[in-house]
């Protein structure tokens, strides 16, 4: 879990300009179930004050799957057209935002990724150029049952 202190620079109409909000961001991976893994991004207001975020784009979230050496394997937003809007979003103390997507165990070109070690990161785009990134989450893709039987 990554605990972040951010200065929200573009809050609209609220007095959040001087606040240094404490947000936590973490990513979870559920699966694989069949040939998919569910990825979930959690953003939580860890402070005791209401925080205002500017979310950059609709949708503002993204997920990255990389090899342990950092090479990008798959990105959820890749090839998607994002509405270029900025949204003001308030988070009460303890409130969470969650975003969930499915990774079909493919790379950027749609090819099945080989079994092995990967890392997943969740990203929340804020007012450009700010982004909130989770710590990388290690992820192991086991060989398929068919491959195991073949051995």
């Amino acid at each position: 879990m990554l605990l972040l202190a951010l200065v929200v620079g573009s809050a609209v109409g609220v007095g959040a300009m001087e606040e240094k909000p404490a947000l936590s961001a973490r990513v979870e991976a559920m699966g694989p179930v069949g040939r998919t893994i569910r990825l979930k991004l959690w953003i939580k207001n860890e402070s005791e004050r209401r925080l205002t975020l500017m979310l950059g784009g609709r949708p503002a979230y993204n997920f990255l799957v990389k090899r342990p050496d950092g090479a990008l394997v798959w990105e959820w937003q890749r090839g998607k057209i994002i509405q270029q809007i900025l949204e003001r979003r308030s988070l009460e103390p303890g409130e969470e935002l969650t975003f969930e997507v499915t990774w079909r165990l493919v790379d950027a070109r749609g090819r099945r990724v080989p079994p092995g070690e990967y890392v997943v990161q969740g990203v929340l785009n804020l007012e450009p150029p700010e982004k909130l990134l989770t710590d990388p989450l290690p992820l192991r893709i086991p060989p398929s049952k068919k491959a195991r039987k073949g051995r």
């Binding site: 573009s10 609209v12 109409g13 500017m54 979310l55 950059g56 784009g57 609709r58 949708p59 503002a60 993204n62 990105e75 937003q77 890749r78 090839g79 998607k80 057209i81 994002i82 509405q83 270029q84 809007i85 900025l86 949204e87 003001r88 979003r89 785009n125 007012e127 450009p128 150029p129």
Partner: protein, 422 residues
């Protein structure tokens, strides 16, 4: 170098005089040490020239001509006993202008029609009235043309100005009424800017976007922004807009048109379609907007407004490879080639498909939705459309072409160009 300095010395002196007379407090302390002979009073340059007219009968104005010579208007028929050398000396003394050519009488005398005093009298009379007319941007005693000059943004404003001249008894032929670009302060795209122009930050409840362009739709003045920059994308909910953000004096308009996304002919099953991501907002009463102008920033990537682009045409065709521009509140002015034309685009996270949209390889980021897209063509720009989307890396944007926006099943016919220009 010395010759160059001497050549420009009169111009510099006049400029310094203008600056001092204009009351630029912070600068004047520095400048007075260089120009001790210039009286530091609250007298404007026009006051000084009017005082000069008291000393030189028939004096109608002074300026440097295209060759750098000192030129002075004297009203034809006005009898003056002063020699040219005395006229020069009087000018030098009154304006505190230590210029050898004045002392030597090296002046070009031009026949004028109006004395400066007369022009100033009319100017003082007109000033409070003409600035009540919407679209008037400047008034001036034009020393180089021996006339009054009134700058307007539109033909409509010019007509009202001329009516006002008649009602105040100011001779029409003594006044030049001409269209000028709106005067924009040094501000950024995210500041409060009036009159409204395209490319500025706008705010509606909970969100920030960009104002596309001002327009007249079915005789209603307003502006166009993205359909997803409304409370609900598709359908009219009366979304309120502020510029740059919600405050007591920043309300600029209300959404009045945003066609529904429908399962029209050619729309894929399970999806809803439109030909543009555009909506129209009616301008709020009393808000000044410049039809046909977009904010121009200092350079590509800059957010600082230094001028304006004038819309002189609307695109009737789009060709892959054409270099287009956009101005938006987040990434400012960006530029690049059209990479794809007439693409049907599914909007991420929705059932919406936008039909026949164009892609441009240029910088974009969140907040740029609604940006005007245009092509620079000499002195003006051709309006191409309205930006609504981009890729995740911010290197390519998508826009709705202006022809799509003006389809009868979209916003319909719009007037977008600067008055009289197209």
């Amino acid at each position: 170098m010395a010759r160059v300095l001497r050549r420009y010395a009169p111009v510099m002196s006049i400029l310094l005089g203008v600056v001092l007379a204009s009351g630029f407090g912070a600068w004047s302390a520095t400048l007075t040490s260089r120009m001790p002979q210039v009286p530091l009073s609250e007298e404007t340059l026009d006051d000084q020239l009017a005082r000069l007219a008291e000393r030189i009968p028939g004096f109608g104005g002074i300026f440097l001509d295209e060759n750098g010579r000192i030129a002075v208007y004297l009203v034809e028929g006005e009898v003056t006993t002063l020699s040219v050398r005395e006229i020069g000396a009087t000018i030098a003394r009154t304006l505190g202008w230590d210029e050898p050519r004045l002392r030597a009488g090296a002046i070009r005398i031009l026949p004028g029609q109006y004395s400066f005093r007369q022009l100033k009298e009319w100017n003082d009379q007109l000033f409070p009235h003409v600035f009540e007319i919407e679209g008037v941007t400047l008034t001036d005693i034009d020393e180089a043309r021996n006339r009054l000059r009134i700058g307007v943004e539109s033909e409509e404003a010019a007509e009202v100005v001329i009516e006002t001249l008649d009602s105040l008894g100011v001779p029409r032929e003594a006044v030049i009424v001409e269209e000028v670009e709106p005067i924009l302060p040094m501000a950024t795209l995210r500041d409060k800017v009036r009159p409204l122009v395209g490319g500025l930050q706008i705010n509606f409840p909970g969100y920030l976007c960009t104002l596309g362009f001002n327009a007249v739709r079915s005789s209603v003045a307003g502006f166009v922004t993205a359909s997803h920059c409304t409370n609900v994308q598709g359908g009219v909910e009366g979304t309120p807009y502020w510029q740059p953000r919600e405050d007591t004096d920043t309300f600029i308009g209300t959404e009045i048109a945003d066609p529904l996304y429908t399962r029209r002919l050619g729309c894929p099953r399970g999806r809803v379609c439109r030909y543009s991501d555009s909506a129209f907002a009616q301008l709020a009463f009393g808000v000044n907007a410049s039809l046909g102008y977009l904010a121009q920033t200092a350079s590509l990537g800059s957010l600082t407004i230094t001028g304006s682009f004038q819309i002189t045409a609307e695109a009737t065709r789009r060709v892959r490879g054409e270099v287009l521009n956009k101005v938006g509140r987040t990434t400012g002015w960006s530029q690049g080639p059209i990479t794809q034309t007439c693409v049907n685009v599914g909007v991420t996270g929705t059932r919406i498909v936008l039909l026949c949209q164009d892609f441009v390889q240029a910088t974009v980021d969140a907040g740029d939705s609604g940006s005007p897209v245009f092509k620079i063509n000499g002195s003006g720009v051709t309006l191409y459309g309205l930006l609504w989307g981009g890729n995740s890396s911010g290197t390519s944007f998508v826009y709705s072409p202006i022809g799509n926006i003006q389809r009868s099943d979209e916003l319909g016919s719009l007037r977008t160009c600067a008055t009289g220009s197209c």
